[in-house]
Amino acid sequence: DAMVIQNPRYQVTQFGKPVTLSCSQTLNHNVMYWYQQKSSQAPKLLFHYYDKDFNNEADTPDNFQSRRPNTSFCFLDIRSPGLGDAAMYLCATSFSYTDTQYFGPGTRLTVL
């Protein structure tokens, strides 16, 4: 089945220790998104790619970086995680910006 896959599902890291979250898709969608969701809050868009065209939301901290080496994969790098970065990180894809987004299961990040 075509899908959006996120690994790992649960990630524990130490304060300040870099961490990378991965997302892959078999939908062959052009657009990939990374969202951060904290408890009882709306998902917050961090970045999005249209193919290799990278777009950074204005309020995304510099501590967050992203890479999309090919159509299928997208990575979220957190260079120096702080306690406030503990959240669920959701990857989503869509064929175009105006099409329905399909979400992965998320990676729950814990920062110790």
Binding site: Q6, A42, P43, Y97, T98, G106
Partner: protein, 113 residues
Amino acid sequence: DQQVKQNSPSLSVQEGRISILNCDYTNSMFDYFLWYKKYPAEGPTFLISISSIKDKNEDGRFTVFLNKSAKHLSLHIVPSQPGDSAVYFCAAQGGNRDDKIIFGKGTRLHILP
């Protein structure tokens, strides 16, 4: 400033009854509205959508109503079933090619036996 508001953090409904989830928005440029459903430990799943040129869209037990003058939409689920217990996110999108989806904070729906 929240552009998409879901003012009820949670809602409990008896199984078999109608569930009504509400959503308000502030940006009159939004022209496409979506509802996503999210189970614990899973990502949101697209449920139903409506374009601003319509005031109602129905898909099985799910109906979304849009009142543009009030900048309000609602999701009706009838009859409610135990598997409907989840968090429901309202989302809105503008009409430009690169407009992003703006999500509300979600409403947790509990279906009571």
